[in-house]
C-alpha cells in the first residue's frame, strides 16, 4: 500500500507503518513475557486460524471460510454503535 499510485493511500500507509513499529515492539514484548504461560499458548492456538485466514486472504486475494468469524469480531464495536455515531 505504501507503493500505491493513489497519493492519499500511499501517504496514510507510510504514516500508519511508522506508528505500527511501536505496536509491533509492544506485542513482541508481551509475547516474550507470556510465551511459557499455558493460558496464553492455549488462546494463541485457538486464535491462530483467524490470523491465518487474514494473511491467506491478503496473499491470495480471496477469502477463506474463517474470515466470516474474523469479520464478525473485527466489526463488532462499529456495529454496536447507533448509526451516525461520531468518535
Amino acid at each position: 500500500m505504501k507503493q500505491s499510485e493513489d497519493p492519499e493511500i500511499a501517504g496514510l500507509a507510510t504514516k500508519i507503518d511508522r506508528e505500527e513499529a511501536y505496536h509491533r515492539i509492544h506485542a513482541q514484548m508481551w509475547f516474550d513475557r507470556l510465551r511459557d504461560e499455558p493460558r496464553f499458548v492455549e488462546a494463541l492456538e485457538r486464535l491462530r486460524p483467524q490470523a491465518e485466514a487474514l494473511l491467506d486472504s491478503a496473499q491470495r486475494g480471496e477469502h477463506t471460510a474463517e474470515l466470516a468469524d474474523l469479520w464478525e469480531e473485527m466489526t463488532m464495536v462499529r456495529r454496536s454503535q447507533p448509526a451516525g455515531t461520531k468518535w
Binding site: 497519493p7 501517504g11 496514510l12 504514516k15 511508522r18 506508528e19 513499529a21
Partner: protein
C-alpha cells in the same frame, strides 16, 4: 481584513488538547495558512492517526478563525507530512520544563526495542541518562513511560515518529 500573521498568532494561542503546555503551532500541525479575502484556509497535518484529539484540534482552529471574523476552511492533509521532528524548539523546551521528555530526533530506520531500552533518553527532571523503559504505551499512545534511576522519578517520554 485578516492577515496571515494574525491567523498564526491566533492558532499559537490554542493549546494542544492532551498536552496543554504546548500550542498547536508548537506541535507543528499547521503546515500552511492561506488568506483569501474573508476566507482562511488552514492545512492541518494530523499527528498520530489514532489520536482522539484530532477533531478537537480541527474545531478549535475553526472557532479561533471565526473569532477573527473570517470564514475557516480546515483542510486535513492525508499524507505522511507530520513527524515529531516538526515540534518546534520552543515547544520541546516547554515539554521538558513540564516533565515530558521531548521526542528524540527521527532516525532513518524505524525504532527498535534495543533503542528504546538504551539509556540515550534523558530524564526531564534531573537530566540523567540513567533511565529505563517501563512501558511503550503511556496515558496516551503517543507517549511511553520511563523511570529515572538517578532521581527515582517516573516520567513520560514522547515517542519519536
Amino acid at each position: 481584513m485578516v492577515t496571515e500573521a494574525q491567523v498564526w498568532d491566533a492558532l499559537a494561542e490554542i493549546p494542544d488538547p492532551e498536552i496543554p503546555v504546548i500550542s498547536l503551532v508548537d506541535l507543528g500541525v499547521v503546515r500552511g495558512i492561506d488568506v483569501d479575502d474573508r476566507r482562511v484556509r488552514v492545512e492541518f497535518t494530523p499527528t498520530f492517526l489514532g489520536c482522539p484529539a484530532l477533531e478537537v484540534m480541527r474545531d478549535a482552529m475553526a472557532d479561533s478563525i471565526r473569532a477573527l471574523g473570517a470564514e475557516p476552511e480546515i483542510q486535513v492533509l492525508l499524507d505522511d507530512s507530520w513527524s515529531t521532528d516538526r515540534i518546534t524548539a520552543a515547544g520541546r523546551e516547554k515539554l521538558r520544563a513540564s516533565g515530558f521528555a521531548p521526542p528524540s530526533p527521527r532516525g532513518i530506520a524505524a525504532p527498535t526495542l534495543v533503542q528504546l531500552q538504551s539509556n540515550a533518553h534523558r530524564c526531564p527532571y534531573c537530566g540523567s541518562t540513567e533511565t529505563r523503559l517501563e512501558n511503550i504505551f503511556g496515558p496516551t499512545p503517543c507517549r511511553s513511560l520511563r523511570y529515572c534511576g538517578s532521581c527515582k522519578q517516573p516520567f513520560e517520554q514522547f515517542k519519536t515518529i
